[in-house]
């Protein structure tokens, strides 16, 4: 074996080792959560950890469901995030399309204004937003949770960058074929950007999925709770039932994990479909 072949082999080994270690580090907490969710409460208290699942998942789930309708919360979260994602994808790509493909006055300043909203901490807008929602009697509604964040700056930024990669000729072609501007957008630009839309969908879904304080304040009835709100409700002054919480966290991870697994390829190929260069 020649020198560089040997070096290559060492390098390959190190690379694999690194990937493996990281993959394990990423999976251990999730696996542990899974195990914890299957242990009965008293074994959970048992201070030596174990690495193989127990059998109490269903009981734990039953007691969780007894305390709060968690399945309903999952559904609420999925519904809210789903509707939000669809609407926001549409809105962001519309704005992104305009920024990428049209010339108009104050284009640059407007764009930077939008990007600027990226730094707003959501937690701190809660009070005025609640005030508004209360005024228009939207508290405890899903629309109050969905609408304010539809104009997502990251979404607009990414779609602008990606839409830039659509050849102008494609749009002109459609224009000559007699398409109106809006038809050009939804019949040509949108379908051509499919993988970017998938990537954007993941990002937006994730954003809505993680909202915590805002829905906590807006939502009133337990039937409307989203996952984080329901989770927060599990941690009161009384004893915290970690078995239930672990079941809840496990269930909370599933929908997004599925979405992520399904759209992952598109995420990689779509997120930077255009270039990030200015």
């Amino acid at each position: 074996m020649r020198e560089h072949r040997r070096k290559d082999a060492v390098w390959r080994f190190l690379t694999y080792a690194f990937i493996l270690v990281m993959a394990v580090a990423m999976l251990v907490p999730l696996y542990w959560m899974l195990v914890a969710a299957t242990l009965p409460q008293d074994e959970f208290l048992n201070l030596t950890p174990r690495f193989y699942p127990g059998t109490a998942f269903l009981e734990n789930f039953a007691s969780l469901q007894d305390r709060t309708d968690f399945v309903r919360s999952i559904w609420n979260s999925v519904f809210i995030a789903g509707v939000y994602t669809v609407l926001s994808v549409l809105l962001c790509s519309m704005a992104g399309f305009a920024f990428a493909k049209y010339e108009f006055r104050f284009k640059e300043p407007i764009f930077y204004l939008i990007l600027g909203t990226l730094v707003l901490p959501i937690q701190l807008l809660v009070i005025p937003l609640f005030l508004m929602m209360a005024q228009i009697e939207w508290t405890d509604t899903f629309r109050a949770i969905i609408l304010p964040w539809l104009a997502n700056p990251i979404g607009i930024f990414l779609m602008r960058q990606n839409m830039k990669s659509i050849p102008d000729a494609l749009l002109e072609s459609a224009r000559m074929d007699g398409a109106t501007e809006f038809q050009i957008f939804y019949r040509i630009a949108l379908p051509a950007m499919r993988s970017s839309l998938a990537a954007l969908a993941i990002i937006l879904f994730l954003f809505q999925w993680d909202l915590f304080l805002y829905p906590l304040v807006i939502l009133e009835s337990e039937a409307n709770y989203t996952i984080p709100v329901a989770l927060a409700g599990l941690e009161g002054t009384q004893r915290i039932y970690y078995d239930q919480i672990m079941v809840a966290t496990t269930l909370a991870i599933v929908p997004l994990a599925i979405l992520f697994l399904v759209l992952q390829k598109q995420f990689v190929s779509g997120i930077l479909a255009g270039s990030l260069k200015e």
Partner: protein, 411 residues
């Protein structure tokens, strides 16, 4: 179009709404559910009680109070939070209603302070937390500890030394050191702020408390488990922590969560700081209030329900019995339940201990700046334990922090 005040319709009718909603957390909410059921049976009205987690409810309620809309018709209010909430003007004043009902004197005197602003009262006391030390009778017996021999913290520590290394005498919850500090501070008859508003938490008593806490820790007598954590419950279940200075409301939790240990518990009064000193204090307690934003018909109904729930002996005792919420309604203390010899406490009439404490407990003035005190004490006491900070410095620093942040003088 106009600006400024717009006169609304008439305010003071006796009309009562048919339907009201109330908020509470955990056990409290469940207790209210009990009285609500009774109330609905007797009256032609519905009372919807919503149960929350503690933090979740505070955040939600606060947003609604400060935005002047969306609050429930009545809600639980912890005494600690009382003044801060009252100061915002978000809570409905009920002095007249209390006068009309003539129930002021039925409640433990010490409970009113944090629910009033001068002569105006904003909430009706619900439960209080007369303090005592719960202890694992079996563990004490096994290692020859004498509860009766404990009068002062020195005695407490001396007895504690009898325990082997793997058993701690008590727990100092790192997430609730301010609670530890506060019940002792109150026990010694202190107020956090002087009459003229100066910060008083740096006084000698406070230093003494800090020293006691630190000594407990330094002598290896204390575990440091987060309160209410699994490990914390586990330790009391296994008996690796032998004593639990706490309040009357802890009884319910112990019964619920540690049912296996029934019969192994006992109660004695908290140690004094010096021979003959006070052995009574209070930890926690709550009330019910009506937000100012609630319309009058609902207010009326809410008050009617509150009075029914809190100023009626039957109802208070019902809640005490079911969920261990120790009544602030002093007139109940003559009831038989207080003298019952409880199996859970190995036949001890433990509730009488709490009732006695309740009648002796000094009053304590919470204020709008209580959160600052809480945060400063917690932070400094943590530093004292974790980073071996000098108790005197810790207390002084805490006082200074509070003074700075609230723009007050040091006492």
């Amino acid at each position: 179009i106009g600006t400024g005040d717009r006169e609304d319709g008439d305010e003071s009718t006796d009309v009562m709404a048919d339907e009201i909603g109330g908020w509470g957390w955990d056990v409290a909410a469940r207790s209210l559910q009990l009285t609500a059921d009774e109330y609905e049976a007797e009256n032609d009205a519905t009372v919807e009680i919503e149960e929350f987690g503690r933090e979740a409810m505070k955040e939600d309620l606060q947003t609604r109070l400060s935005s002047g809309t969306g609050a429930p018709d009545l809600a639980m209010l912890e005494m600690v939070d009382g003044p801060a909430y009252i100061e915002t003007g978000a809570i409905h004043e009920i002095s007249d209603r209390i006068d009309d009902a003539g129930v002021y004197d039925d409640f433990v005197e010490g409970a009113w302070a944090s629910l009033s602003d001068g002569d105006d009262i904003y909430a009706l006391p619900w439960d209080i937390g007369p303090t005592a030390v719960y202890y694992r009778r079996d563990v004490y017996d096994e290692h020859g500890l004498e509860p009766d021999a404990i009068e002062t913290w020195d005695d407490f520590m001396a007895e504690g030394e009898k325990l082997p290394d793997d058993v701690d005498m008590l727990n100092l919850p790192m997430n609730d050191l301010d609670g530890v500090w506060r019940y002792q501070f109150r026990q010694l008859g202190n107020q956090p702020f002087t009459e003229d508003g100066a910060v008083n938490i740096g006084n000698d008593d406070s230093v003494m408390i800090a020293e006691t806490v630190k000594e407990l820790y330094d002598r290896g007598l204390a575990a440091t488990l987060d309160g209410w954590s699994s490990a914390w419950f586990g330790a009391y279940e296994e008996g690796t922590v032998a004593s639990l200075p706490s309040a009357a409301w802890m009884e319910g939790t112990l019964r619920d969560e540690l049912s296996d240990t029934a019969g192994d518990w006992g109660v004695y009064r908290i140690p004094a700081h010096e021979e003959g000193g006070s052995r009574a204090s209070n930890w926690g307690g709550s009330s019910l209030m009506i937000p100012e934003q609630v319309e009058s018909a609902k207010r009326n109904r809410a008050w009617d329900y509150i009075e029914w729930s809190l100023a009626t002996e039957d109802m208070q005792l019902l809640m005490y019995d079911e969920y261990g919420l120790f009544p602030a309604l002093e007139t109940t203390y003559d009831a038989d339940v207080f003298d019952e010899e409880l199996d859970f406490f190995g036949g001890q009439a433990a509730r009488r201990v709490f009732a006695d404490v309740a009648e002796e407990m000094p009053s304590y003035g919470f204020s709008a700046d209580t959160p600052e005190v809480t945060s400063a004490i917690n932070s400094e006491f943590q530093a004292m334990i974790n980073d071996d900070k000098d108790p005197e410095d810790a207390v002084a620093d805490a006082a200074q922090t509070v003074a700075d942040r609230t723009d007050r003088d040091l006492a």
